[in-house]
């Protein structure tokens, strides 16, 4: 049980980086990923008393983060009244060739495809859980996965894994 609020901080420390990285694979912007992760945890915090266990909490925060990622991408670069702005544009985490290449390849995918690939192939969630997190049917997830992987392999010159 993690119903006590003190336990939240431990959960947060343990899972924050993972959620930020997942979000980065979707938003392709580490700074935006931080924002999304922070909001996801904030929303988790507001429901902390109703969380039954860490699996539940993990699912909740990933699901929330993915939803916010999609929203963030939809509204990319949109600033709203009262919100002008000062977003650092540099990636202060440091860039790598790997990241540049992979992010460029991910940029050719739809948000849904990126979410599906990130959750299934990077985070390792089963397809049914990915479907639940993304609020879509498993068959739809499989379509996104298939197309996303195909596009990634093509962009990154990765051969399809042996059958």
């Amino acid at each position: 049980m993690v119903a006590d609020r003190a336990g939240f901080e431990g959960f947060y420390r343990e899972h924050l980086t993972r959620v930020v990285r997942a979000c980065a694979l979707v938003t392709l912007d580490p700074a935006a990923a931080e924002d999304v992760a922070a909001e996801a945890f904030a929303r988790l915090w507001s429901h902390w008393g109703q969380i039954h266990d860490e699996d539940h909490a993990g699912g909740y925060v990933f699901k929330t983060a993915m939803r916010l990622c999609a929203k963030r991408r939809t509204k990319a670069s949109r600033e709203v009244i009262g919100g002008v702005v000062d977003r650092p544009v540099a990636d202060e985490f440091g860039r790598s060739d790997d990241r540049a290449a992979v992010f460029a390849a991910l940029g050719g995918l739809s948000v849904r495809q990126r979410q599906a690939v990130a959750l299934r192939d990077w985070a390792g969630y089963p397809t049914d859980e990915v479907a639940s997190m993304l609020g879509m049917r498993e068959s739809t997830v499989r379509v996104h996965l298939s197309r996303g992987r195909e596009a990634l392999r093509r962009s990154l010159s990765v051969e399809e894994r042996d059958r």
């Binding site: 694979l25 922070a38 909001e39 949109r78 919100g83 002008v84 702005v85 990241r99 390792g124 894994r161």
Partner: protein
């Protein structure tokens, strides 16, 4: 391969791409140069996550009027929080600001990092990180007070901050800082006083007073603090509102099963829970109504899809119980009794908005104590009065009316004083608008006035390029004092009307 099977090779590639992304799991009081203070403060944001937004929002409205100078607030200017009661005094003549906050209130939770006040006119960008490299324009005479929220539970609540001993700033020669912590039941804040070697003793004394004046308040905000409002723009629903600072804006639809009418705004003085059993009918969010206390207010606005203005009563010039319930029939409009909601006064107020032609139901509920509190009572009706709606359908863009050339006079201190030349425009109408090569933050002349982007002082490396570049977009007034510029790339920037002339120099 089977699509259900995990592609570990791709997974490994993805992992290599994000492996370098590390985030601090705890806020550090001092962060090395170049590190990501923002990330550290993510931890801080979680409990007190929304603490500062309205403070900055409020500050933004003030700053927008006078480019960062809050002296107009007098000696008791205050940052206030919309969700967790939190305040910080802002001395007259000092400047206040906050870290970036991008997105509307629905995105507010994560977007505030730090707030600060400083004695100088230096323009500070983004998060002010104690111990990091000084930002351009900061002088050795400067004193900066920085407030960071962070997670903290079960701790004592020192309502008066005690500052620790001074420590050297290892990054900036001669600079020192002190810090202290205070906690409330909604979280904690660490407060820093950071100053240069030439800071004056009076300024340091003022800074200490500011630091010691930070309050995490257990109870609801004082009505005097509630008075400021936070601008809320919902592009999806074409809605603008001024939400009292200190009130909670629902970031989710509280009536998710209600499709028509559809809820587009819900605000309360208490945490708003989604859903719940119908209090009286399916239109009302049961949980929110159930949670409404005696000193609480709840306001929600729902839109009837496809309604014609003629289907609804005309929008009153000003919302109030007397306006809705004529001829002393106010008691009969205390609808709560009829609804079986004991101790709650409530009003359903349908209205047609003449600007947008849209039809709405607004619902206002107050506990008895709130109803009798003039400040809170009035704030609810002012919220309704502030509502501005876009016309549905694609906007028709007209050219902005213009009248002749600028009149100007040379100013002795440099620059030129100019007067607006634009003709009048109509509220709610989208006009084509071309931003000059110096950007939206230089000269924006519309509806007979100049306009200023909100948080103009915070223009930094990450600001929308429309602030500093030419662009062709549209501009629309939401009310007489506020407008929104939408760029060719769909960046939206809020604008506040300036009165009279302005002095301009060359643009960068």
């Amino acid at each position: 391969m089977n699509v259900d099977e995990r592609d570990t090779r791709l997974g490994e590639l993805l992992d290599r791409a994000v492996r370098g992304i590390e985030v601090a799991r705890e806020p550090a009081p001092v962060v090395r140069r170049g590190s990501r203070r923002r990330v550290g403060v993510l931890v801080a944001s979680v409990t007190a996550v929304a603490v500062f937004l309205a403070g900055v929002g409020f500050a933004a409205t003030q700053v927008g009027r006078d480019v960062g100078d809050l002296s107009g607030l007098g000696d008791n200017g205050t940052f206030a929080s919309p969700v967790f009661p939190w305040t910080m005094p802002v001395p007259g003549g000092w400047h206040a600001g906050g870290s970036r906050f991008v997105g509307g209130p629905r995105d507010m939770l994560q977007d505030l990092r730090t707030s600060f006040v400083t004695n100088s006119g230096a323009t500070l960008h983004g998060s002010v990180v104690v111990g990091s490299e000084l930002q351009p324009g900061v002088a050795d005479t400067d004193v900066i007070v920085v407030v960071d929220p962070f997670v903290g539970t079960g701790e004592a609540q020192p309502m008066t901050l005690v500052l620790n001993a001074e420590r050297d700033d290892t990054t900036n020669a001669g600079w020192v800082w002190r810090d202290g912590k205070l906690c409330g039941d909604t979280g904690c804040a660490r407060v820093y006083v950071w100053h240069g070697p030439d800071a004056s003793e009076p300024d340091l004394e003022t800074a200490r007073s500011v630091a010691e004046g930070v309050r995490l308040v257990r109870s609801r905000p004082d009505p005097a603090v509630v008075t400021p409002t936070v601008d809320y723009l919902d592009n999806e629903d074409g809605l603008w509102a001024e939400v009292p600072a200190g009130w909670t804006l629902a970031d989710e639809n509280l009536t998710p099963n209600l499709t028509d009418p559809r809820e587009i705004l819900s605000v309360g003085t208490f945490p708003l829970r989604v859903g719940g059993r119908a209090a009286t009918d399916a239109f009302l969010p049961g949980n929110a109504i159930a949670d409404l206390g005696s000193d609480d207010v709840f306001v929600t606005v729902q839109e009837r899809h496809g309604a014609r203005a003629s289907d609804f009563p005309a929008r009153p010039r000003s919302f109030s119980p007397s306006a809705i319930c004529a001829d002393g029939a106010e008691a009969g409009c205390a609808y709560g009794t009829a609804l079986g909601l004991e101790g709650i006064r409530a009003w359903w107020i349908p209205f047609a908005d003449p600007v947008s032609g849209r039809g709405f139901y607004s619902f206002v509920a107050m506990g008895e104590d709130a109803y009798r509190d003039p400040a809170i009572n009035a704030a609810a009706w002012r919220l309704l009065d502030s509502l501005a709606f876009d016309a549905t359908g694609a906007p028709v863009a007209y050219p902005v009316p213009a009248l002749g050339d600028y009149d100007y006079v040379q100013e002795a201190g440099g620059g030129s004083r100019i007067w607006p030349r634009s003709g009048s425009a109509e509220i709610g109408v989208h006009y084509r608008f071309e931003v000059g090569h110096c950007g939206l933050a230089y000269i924006t002349d519309f509806d007979g006035s100049f306009w200023q982007p909100i948080l103009r002082h915070a223009i930094g490396a990450g600001s929308p390029s429309v602030l500093i570049n030419s662009d062709r977009g549209t501009i629309r007034m939401s009310n007489t004092s506020q407008a929104v510029y939408t760029s060719s790339t769909d960046v939206q920037v809020g604008l506040l009307r300036l009165e009279g002339s302005i002095v301009v120099g060359g643009c960068r």
